[in-house]
Amino acid sequence: MIPFRYSAPASVEDAVTMAGEPGSRFLAGGTNIIDLMKMGVEHPSHLIDITRLPIDRIEEHQGGVRLGALTRNTAVAAHRLIRERYPVLSQAILAGASPQIRNMATTGGNLLQRTRCFYFYDPSYSECNKRVPGSGCAALQGNNRIHAILGASDRCIATYPGDMAVALAALDAKVVLRGPRGERSEAMDTFYRLPGDTPNIEHDLLPGEMITAVDLPPVQATGSRYLKVRDRNSFAFALVSVAAMLNIDAAGKITQARFALGGVAPRPWRVPEAEDALRGKIPADSVFRDAADILLRGAKPYRFNGFKVELARRAVVRALASASTRA
């Protein structure tokens, strides 16, 4: 680890001002940034500890719920409003990491966790366009069993590794940002950028901008499910995950479907056409499989992750089937 400066500003305004300097990083739960610093992946010159800022509330907001950026994963997952109105979010959070990590990790920090690509995480590998732009992508010809099948480019095939953001994407959540030029919000769906030619740029945060909250809009769903398939039953990143929500009317027809995939793309993966295809349909595995095929359209597997296409298809079918029977 390389030495760095440490500050603990007293207000969001001060934090945002400090963060304008190049080389600054916010420190919240520290469950990822500290690890990356120890590994020699991140070398911030200035860590801005924001954990004392008053943005750690969970409250009703415009008919939905606002999660302060510093709410801890454990608190969000356990909160009555979340368990009752957004069970898919509670399930997604509890499917991630370990209790100890969830006690530390925050909503804002979790959104910004970085990929688990082997070659990104270990700087002794010289090729990584995300870490060192222009250096190449070792994963393309490497051990790419855990890598993306959707949304990748020939510069980077890393996945977004988290669970919470997959549920937030399906929930149409909005990320509230505060920066030098004031407050704005952005849809979860477009917050993350695809790698293209610049895999080092992962999201739409402007210099100095801070995530201050995540807004959950009101949701109409008769059933939901977060399903995670992984190599071990806890404390493992998703091979494939699915956040699924269905609204089914009294006649048994689907009026609205929303579902996102995790573990397969550089961001939570949603395709509106796949969701529209379910509208008006009676729930059935065959119907869900057709929707999964649309969701997975254009999937491009690499040498070791071909199984993810079929695994994702099956996981979508299972998650939707489960959401169709759950209250």
């Binding site: 688990r116 270990d122 070792a138 010809q141 490497g142 051990n143 398939v229 992984r230 039953n233 695994l311």
Partner: protein, 701 residues
């Protein structure tokens, strides 16, 4: 006095551990301590062209950056090993520019603080001239080693005429089974603190499973009289075999301390555990079986390919169980080694038996399925009444009773014969079983015991406690012999100032050091019985020291621990995710000295068996041939959510042919057969026979 042996006595060091008062190696308070951080190679084969250290040297608090250019001379070529010392490894001690494997130490940064040493290590720039490494088993040049394993078994074995018999059987099969590389991942990484007292005396706090072997190796490399090297290893946070040999980082720590003339602490960072401190080699085992239609084995062969490094030889002895576990007149096994550009593989819990029982016990399950014979019945029809490999009677064998009790506890009689017969919603349920086997070994050992006039006793023996409970069982053995409560006996270990004992490996500590403690306590008791209480009170203490030899009965009997393991799995029929919902293990391992620590040992082995079946895999990059998952987020071992109910029992035995206490050793048997039981249960659940570990969801789609 009621005996303590066999009782579920809590660890005598338990309070120390849970209160943080057990001083582990890296926690030793040493005045004037400096900190070392290794720099390791980022290529797997080639040469160092240059090492740029000036940036690193400028870091405040840095004392030295040492490389192969620093001229640190050794008394002996570290790449030459004495073949009579099976735990000695060829070491890479900053002597030249050659790179033999990824993560090989190439430099070490020493600083006043850990932070400065870490920063300096990160600022060292190494340029390499890289060659294409090989980690494939499919390369020409494999060879048969003369000896295989720490006990010096031959590299191949032969009895009868397997070729002829193969063509004669009613039922024949040949399958290939693969197990991957494993990296020992004890909670406590390898750590060393080196403290020199002048140029000729060294104290080494070292995470060693074998302090006397460590002392010998350190002394010969550093040019010291072994009497002037003291190795201390009071508590270990796991070892699993990885801390048996003396590895490069520990010697580099001592070299660095000599160079900077200050005490140095070196803790191997977790990613650096993947390379320089051993691994379990991947294996590819080809097993051929011929049997009569009623299931009698006619021929059984195992050809095992495994890796060694380019600079040293180590054999993952997977063929050993095939030689002796079943009665079969025609048997042939051969170990073949392939040289690869990897850190030398080494002893990993049940080396050979863990991987060997996977292949053999899955093959037996396949034969049972093919012949439609119950898997236990097939094993009983081929029950070995003596060791046909060594042509000796068993010193004890209660395997039949293990099968019987295990089957009863597990409910095996209700198992439907056909796979895919049991379901629960989306889950397919399967039951599998396998046999466990591990040799019972004993080496020379010695101990010292003192009686104090106040009625308390002190017993000392070198030895080591990997966390398994050596402190506790040795205390019990001494207390029972002396006829006093365990609270009156203090047992000390982990210091070469105590009487010499063997490496804590090969499950031999209870039998070896236990026999020495038994004998020493017996002699002390005898001595005390000849003295009056006035005589005893007149002296500060009464002391005896005694030794026990190698097992004198080892030439007359073959000694093994045995067991039977049963697993129930629930497999998601669409998604391939596996959960081991319950396991039963019944073992026959001689006298069980402590019901609580023994249960934990068996359970730890069984959980590692689940890990082997489903999780563990040191993954390599296919192009650069370096390890990619060098951290505990990506190198998976089981979590609580992966382990269902574990039911453990044992068959009472008292094997006087192995040890003075009647115990046979339990450190390793729990992992043997466990992965096969899980794999066989997965077959029973799904009808899919996976012969390539680990069985991850993608293999079951």
């Amino acid at each position: 006095m009621e005996q303590s042996i066999g009782k579920p006595i809590s660890r005598v060091d338990g309070i120390l551990k849970v209160t943080g008062n057990a001083i582990y190696t890296a926690d030793q308070p040493v005045p004037g301590l400096t900190h070392a951080v290794l720099v390791v190679s980022s290529i797997a084969k080639g040469r160092i062209v240059s090492i740029e250290t000036s940036d690193a040297e400028r870091v405040a608090g840095v004392i030295a950056i040492l490389t192969h250019k620093s001229g640190m001379k050794l008394a002996k070529d570290p790449t030459k090993v004495d073949s009579s010392q099976p735990a000695d490894r060829a070491l890479q001690l900053l002597q030249d520019d050659r790179i033999f494997y990824g993560n090989q130490p190439v430099a070490v940064a020493i600083a006043e603080t850990l932070e400065a040493a870490s920063e300096a290590a990160e600022r060292v720039r190494v340029q390499y001239d890289s060659l294409t490494p090989s980690i494939s088993l499919d390369v020409p040049g494999s060879y048969v080693p003369k000896k295989a394993g720490g006990a010096g078994d031959p590299g191949q074995s032969h009895r009868g005429d397997p070729k002829q018999a193969m063509s004669a059987g009613d039922s024949r099969m040949e399958e290939i089974y693969s197990t991957p590389f494993h990296t020992h991942s004890p909670m406590e990484p390898h750590s060393t603190i080196a403290v020199w007292d002048g140029p000729t005396k060294l104290t080494l706090y070292d995470t060693s499973q074998g302090i006397f072997g460590d002392r010998k190796r350190m002394a010969e490399l550093l040019g010291l009289d072994p009497e002037n090297v003291r190795v201390v290893s009071l508590f270990l946070g796991g070892g699993f075999g990885s801390k048996g040999p003396t590895w490069s980082p520990a010697v580099i720590c001592a070299m660095a301390a000599r160079h900077v003339r200050r005490p140095v602490k070196l803790v191997v960072r977790r990613p650096q555990m993947f390379g320089p401190v051993g691994c379990r080699s991947a294996t590819r085992q080809t097993i051929s079986v011929a049997a009569s239609k009623d299931g009698k084995l006619l021929a059984l062969t195992n050809e095992t390919l495994s890796h060694t490094s380019t600079m040293d030889e180590f054999v993952e002895t997977s063929t050993l169980p095939t030689r002796m576990l079943y009665s079969v007149p025609n048997n042939e096994t051969v170990q073949r080694l392939v040289r690869s550009d990897i850190g030398t593989p080494s002893y990993t819990r049940a080396p050979g038996e863990a991987s060997g029982t996977f292949a053999l016990e899955v093959a037996m399950d396949e034969l049972a399925a093919k012949l439609k014979i119950d898997p236990i019945e097939l094993r009983l029809r081929n029950y070995a009444e003596r060791d046909e490999n060594k042509d000796l009677p068993w010193s004890s064998k209660s395997l039949r009773e293990c099968y019987r009790q295990g089957a009863k506890r597990f409910g095996w009689a209700r198992r439907p014969g056909e796979p895919r017969s049991m379901k629960d919603g989306d889950q397919l349920i399967g039951w599998g079983m396998a046999t466990s086997v591990y040799p019972a070994r004993r080496s020379p050992a010695s101990a010292r015991a003192r009686a104090y006039p106040d009625g308390n006793f002190l017993v000392e023996a070198g030895s080591q406690d990997l966390g398994g409970g050596t402190y506790t069982i040795m205390t019990q053995i001494a207390a029972d012999v002396l006829g006093v409560p365990v609270s009156r006996v203090t047992f000390r270990l982990g210091d070469t100032r105590y009487p010499e004992t063997p490496v804590s490996g090969g499950s031999q500590t209870a039998a070896s050091t236990g026999s020495a403690v038994f004998k020493t306590a017996s002699e002390l008791k005898k001595k005390l019985s000849r003295m009056t209480s006035a005589d005893i009170a007149a002296q500060p203490y009464i002391e005896v020291e005694a030794s026990t030899e190698e097992n004198p009965d080892a030439k007359k009997f073959s000694s093994y621990s045995f067991g039977a393991q049963f697993a129930e799995v629930r497999v998601d029929r669409d998604l391939g995710q596996v959960y081991v919902s319950r396991m039963t293990g019944v073992f026959a391992a001689g006298k069980i000295l402590n019901a609580k620590t023994a249960r934990s040992q068996f359970m730890g082995g069984m959980v590692w068996g689940i890990s082997m079946a489903l999780h563990e895999n040191t993954a390599y990059d296919p192009r650069l041939r370096r390890i990619v998952n060098n951290n505990l987020a990506e190198y998976h071992v089981p979590t609580n959510a992966d382990v269902g109910n574990i039911d453990i029992a044992w068959v009472e035995e008292d094997d006087e042919h192995v040890s003075l206490t009647g115990s046979k050793g339990i450190g390793e048997i729990g992992i043997t057969g466990a992965s096969a039981a899980v794999a066989n249960a997965i077959y029973h659940a799904t009808g899919k026979r996976i012969r390539d570990l680990p069985i991850t969801p993608d293999k079951l789609l």
